[in-house]
């Protein structure tokens, strides 16, 4: 039985990271994730763990690179604009095969954008985000509890694949206060990080270790192709083994909603309203935004299903759904433009989704 708390998602991220044995956090102020950085500033020194406020998000991600290269579990958290500054190093960590966790608490975009909720970083999170061929597993919590649990999963998957993992929440999930049971989750053994730099004296074989982000330059791989083959193999494995989604009322559903994060909770509400109205609606809630559940969507499309994507952006998840159905089914959208008021405080509400369901079914 873990410790029960009534906390917001941002705070749950902290307790989750601590439970997962995270040893180092580096962060820079940006709304709406400040509560995360502030939690680590308060709690990590008490736990004898490492906290430092960096000089920028460029600093945060590169401090994480350093701590990860030294072999400890390290993370940072940020929001859209800061997340953009981190992309070069995210790409470097994919090449260097360095594990770490980055939490992106999404806010409005593009550019300065409002500091409130949105879901417009989906592409940037799920397509790698930086230069070159690589992907990151992207986890999408839809509650404070999941913010705690998925951060723990993120650390496990990061170490398992030696690759960064992104936890993609938003200002609503981040600031929503809910009951959370904080409990350390056991995921099973992982290999020792013999590759990490620690000073030769700390290596059993006394030989030097090099962490570099240009795999072939220093002959970590025999050739550039060998590096790329290795990365491709890793991405395939992640896709095959790490897909996670929640199917809600999917068995007989003919109108399938697809959503993640806070809009998935809105969609679930709308599915219940539709079901009460006799409409066979269901929901696929992405828990991993990448890998994406192409297979189950394609199967439903082949059975004649229709799709309604609910996302707080101009339409990003919808591209993956269209890609999955390959023209076999209609794909509709409730987007950021369907919020209940035009200001940045607007939200996509269940009755709006329900109206759309009635319109297209």
């Amino acid at each position: 039985m873990g410790e029960r708390m009534f906390i917001e998602g941002n705070i749950a991220v902290g307790w989750g990271a601590a439970s997962a044995g995270c040893q180092a956090f580096f962060g820079y102020p940006i709304t709406p994730q400040n509560e995360i950085t502030e939690w680590f500033a308060r709690e990590f020194p008490k736990m004898g763990r490492i906290f430092a406020q960096s000089q920028s998000e460029l600093g945060s991600i590169n401090l994480v690179y350093g701590a990860a290269a030294a072999g400890v579990r390290a993370m940072t958290s940020t929001s859209g604009p800061g997340w953009s500054l981190m992309q070069e190093t995210m790409s470097d960590m994919a090449n260097a095969e360095l594990p770490c966790v980055v939490v992106d608490v999404q806010r409005g975009g593009p550019g300065g954008g409002p500091i409130r909720h949105a879901q417009q970083d989906y592409f940037q999170c799920t397509r790698g985000g930086g230069h070159g061929d690589y992907r990151n597993i992207v986890l999408a919590p839809a509650s404070s509890q999941e913010s705690c649990d998925l951060v723990q999963l993120a650390f496990y998957l990061a170490d398992k694949y030696r690759n960064p993992v992104v936890v993609m929440t938003d200002a609503i999930i981040g600031r929503l206060r809910e009951t959370v049971e904080v409990e350390k989750i056991e995921f099973g053994p992982l290999p020792d990080k013999d590759w990490a730099v620690k000073g030769k004296a700390r290596h059993k074989d006394g030989k030097r270790r090099i962490v570099d982000h240009s795999g072939d330059l220093l002959r970590r791989y025999p050739s550039y192709r060998a590096l790329l083959q290795s990365l491709e193999q890793k991405m395939k494995q992640m896709q095959e083994s790490e897909l996670r989604y929640e199917g809600y009322k999917m068995e007989d559903a003919s109108l399938i909603l697809v959503a993640y994060g806070y809009t998935a909770r809105v969609a679930k509400e709308a599915v219940n309203m539709a079901r009460a109205d006799g409409i066979k609606a269901g929901l696929i809630r992405l828990i991993t935004a990448w890998p994406f559940p192409y297979q189950v969507i394609r199967e439903k499309a082949c059975q004649g299903g229709k799709f309604l994507v609910v996302e707080d952006s101009l339409g990003q998840v919808i591209e993956d759904v269209r890609f999955a159905v390959e023209g076999r089914a209609e794909v509709h959208l409730v987007s950021i433009l369907d919020r209940h008021i035009p200001t940045d405080g607007g939200m996509i509400l269940p009755d709006k989704v329900f109206d759309k369901i009635k319109e297209i079914q």
Binding site: S56, N62, Y65, A69, A74, G199, K200, H203, R208, I210
Partner: protein, 269 residues
């Protein structure tokens, strides 16, 4: 007894033995480069790796050192030092060094970067480390150009210096003035040591080696951030022979970038 007799004869003759002792040569920590020796003839950057290797050997810190190298010509120094090392994105070594040092405070963690790598793209991490007074050592190789990419202007390019991005010579009115890292860094409270050396003469090489020793010693004594700037010849991008590059350092670089220690304190309140 004939055999014995011969033995006696040997006893009386003066027997000279010539021993051959190694006086100087490749330091033990300086290993053949992983990717092959890629430096241009006369480039001084490999001498920085040599000096670091010699200092680490003298301090006995080879197996507790972690080098953090930048993108640039100095990237390949990483392969030449038999120590744990990290290659970082361009300009980011002070960030990585902070991350590593925070995890292993008892190790010697030092960065090696170019002038552009530290003062241009690396200004953000430099200022971060200086503000946080990280107990790391930063070594900047000042060759007044961006070497790897073919000789563009750097923050330390001199007035009138021709580079591929100042084809008519650096015009200070349009590009600003050479940045003086050692003096600037010495102004930070969290800095325990800041010096500038060069490799253009044997005396300067030995002096610079002493500066590196002092810088590492500050880190071992946990005093504060230590910095060593080293003027390095870049014959290829200066369009000069190695020997003429030494002259250019003497007549142009050193007058602009005077050598010496700019800060040397044993305690920071």
């Amino acid at each position: 007894m004939s055999q014995g007799g011969r033995l006696e004869d040997a006893m009386n003759e003066e027997v000279k033995v010539v021993t051959k002792q190694r006086v100087a040569g490749r330091p033990k920590l300086l290993v053949p480069q992983i990717a092959g020796f890629i430096y241009c003839p006369g480039c001084h950057e490999p001498l920085a790796a040599r000096a670091i290797a010699e200092v680490l050997e003298k301090l006995g810190m080879g197996d507790r050192a972690i080098g953090v190298f930048d993108i640039g010509c100095n990237s390949f120094l990483l392969g030449m030092l038999d120590i744990d090392a990290v290659l970082t994105p361009h300009g980011r070594p002070p960030d990585m060094a902070t991350g590593v040092k925070r995890v292993y405070p008892d190790n010697i963690v030092f960065t090696v970067q170019g002038d552009g790598g530290l003062l241009s793209i690396g200004a953000d991490p430099l200022l971060g480390a200086l503000t946080r007074a990280e107990k790391i050592t930063i070594i900047m190789l000042n060759n007044a150009v961006y070497g790897t990419t073919g000789g563009q202007m750097a923050p330390t390019s001199l007035e009138g210096q021709v580079t591929t991005t100042t084809p008519n010579g650096r015009d200070l009115a349009r590009t600003g003035f050479p940045t003086h890292a050692a003096e600037m860094i010495a102004t930070f409270r969290g800095v325990a040591y800041s010096a500038r050396g060069a490799f253009n003469t044997p005396k300067n090489y030995m002096r610079t080696r002493k500066y590196i020793t002092s810088a590492f010693q500050k880190q071992m004594d946990n005093v504060g951030l230590s910095f060593v700037e080293i003027i390095c010849a870049c014959p290829e991008n200066w369009r000069l022979s190695p020997i003429d590059s030494l002259k250019w350092i003497e007549e142009k670089m050193i007058p602009e970038f005077p050598l010496g220690e700019f800060k040397n304190v044993d305690r920071i309140e």
